[in-house]
Symmetry: C2
Subunit: 333 residues, 2 copies
């Protein structure tokens, strides 16, 4: 009876190999089953995430979601990477410095003077007009490819002022694991951020595995027109869309066209409340994750002035992440 | 020597089975190799399509494209399905009829009267103001989900005035085969149309296999706000983006964020020239397809007033499809 048994063994190995090759995602998921989220402590939030993903991927179960409905949307600043300082803000300051090096006269002109001197009060007084002037000088009046080349260079050279490492080293490992875990379970992962769509697209694929077509953000108007003898996508100094607060469900609908099922944001400005609560209105299962920056030792502890995000989380029964208690580690560097 | 030989045979079969399971897309492509585009005549256009796809998917070849760069963009009206009449125009007329049935007074009011009487001259005189009034009455001032439910119902009930079949039966089989062929070769297929983004998303997935997040079109402004006691995506009676002519490369950049490699449009209004020529500016290989409606017998023969699309095709060396000569069949019904 040794021969059939050997044959059976060989058959099992072949089938396993076959399965591994045929369904790499499933095989990875299987391998990771011991712990798909190793940087998370074993707290109720982690259990809720795994429970939800298991429910919506269990065929025949009451909450099963066909793969085309598995859309997960993440805020970026403060949700996927640190936001003190906001990286796009640091880019803007750096660009103003470069402009001042080329043309020293702008050191005496507002709102540039205020930026160079870190004079927040004067900037605030300038209001929206000052802000648009800064965006026009640093983000607009150039072809799209030039802008993105400048962002690329900035990300390569710039360092976080306190932590001393490149900004792209400051993504949160627990969230990178969560993105991968969702993708391994058939989710399409998206970013929906108040940050600039063209700014984020420079690094989203390499850093998060999120391709440019799955990034939603604020945008300037663009025109396709002749500049320098050829047609280019020209960045106009006018705001097209502000992807923050009530603008987020609008941006999500424009880009996705179907309601996200898994939505994650963070506490700071209330910017994610609208998209988190919008996702709860869909028929069928949904999951809301809100990250609370309460880890002064490993990151920064900061709160929201009016506490609106945490209040909304309580009312909606959302899952609140305490970075201090729920995460084993905050940064990888 | 019979045993090793049998073993080799078994090994070959196993490897083939393994490959088929491991790479279903490749296996399908292999199976279809005899003829991936059976509804196309064996003319230079078909050969050019297959030659291009083979080149950009040949690993190690000079034109090889990593899968994330394989983006294909198709116009919709006149490229993927018939456009006489424009289906969204037929929807608008039907909606005006329904409004008139509920409120007969609008039969005497312009621009509704002109629509109901098919009085194109009066409509033209009304210009943009009249058009926006019609869009506001039929496409706006309601929640997104209500609008899409109305489109869904229209598509179920309406019939083409001459051909007598539902509009969704009037997609072109050669183009459906092309979409499938590109997807089988790792391309992500997109629509970029002057039509309404939310209109097309109702049928794009079922008809073309193109999910809503890969549809780009014209849009009205939207707001996320309270109506009837809950937050909804509300369609405002104001144009947000016109995805036609120079608006197409802009819409493509906003939604995709990377230059399409394969772009298809059609002759009628010059609406696709900008996105076709924009795709030629990318570094590396690209393919431009322009469909000419020259088949009076099987569809409709129509030309462009100024001939700009065919002229641009000649200058750019684009591939022009003669529906009469290059397609074995035009409709499936």
């Amino acid at each position: 009876m040794s021969r059939p048994s050997r044959r059976t063994d060989r058959l099992s190995v072949s089938i396993l190999l076959l399965l591994a090759l045929a369904f790499p995602a499933a095989a990875r998921a299987q391998a990771a089953k011991a712990d798909p989220l190793p940087s998370w402590n074993d707290t109720p939030v982690k259990q809720a995430i795994i429970g939800f993903v298991t429910r919506v991927t269990t065929e025949g179960g009451p909450d099963f979601l066909p793969v085309e409905h598995r859309i997960a949307v993440f805020d970026n600043d403060g949700t996927l990477w640190q936001e003190k300082p906001a990286v796009q803000g640091a880019f803007l300051v750096e660009r103003v410095r470069e402009l001042a090096a080329k043309d020293p006269s702008i050191k005496q002109r507002q709102p540039f003077k205020a930026v160079l001197e870190g004079d927040v009060d004067t900037l605030m007084e300038g209001g929206e007009k000052a802000l648009m002037e800064l965006f026009a000088a640093t983000h607009a009046n150039m072809p799209q490819e030039q802008f993105q080349a400048e962002v690329h260079q900035f990300l390569r050279e710039a360092r976080h002022p306190k932590l001393g490492v490149p900004y792209t080293k400051l993504a949160y490992p627990p969230m990178l694991e969560l993105l991968r875990y969702l993708r391994d379970n058939g989710f399409q992962t998206w970013i929906s951020s108040g940050g600039g769509i063209d700014f984020m697209r420079v690094f989203s694929e390499e850093l998060y595995g999120i391709p440019p077509q799955q990034v939603i953000g604020s945008s300037l108007e663009e025109k396709f027109e002749q500049h320098g003898g050829r047609d280019v996508l020209w960045r106009e100094p006018r705001v097209d869309h502000v992807n923050d607060k009530e603008g987020k469900p609008v941006g999500n609908d424009l880009h996705i066209g179907r309601s996200p099922v898994f939505v994650a944001g963070n506490v700071r400005s209330g910017g994610d409340i609208a998209m988190l609560s919008a996702s709860q209105q869909r028929l069928g299962p949904s999951f809301q994750l809100l990250i609370n920056h309460d880890d002064a030792r490993r990151e920064f502890a900061y709160q929201e002035k009016d506490g609106a995000s945490l209040r909304a989380a309580k009312e909606g029964g959302w899952n609140v992440v305490s970075m201090r208690d729920d995460w084993k580690r905050v940064f990888a560097y």
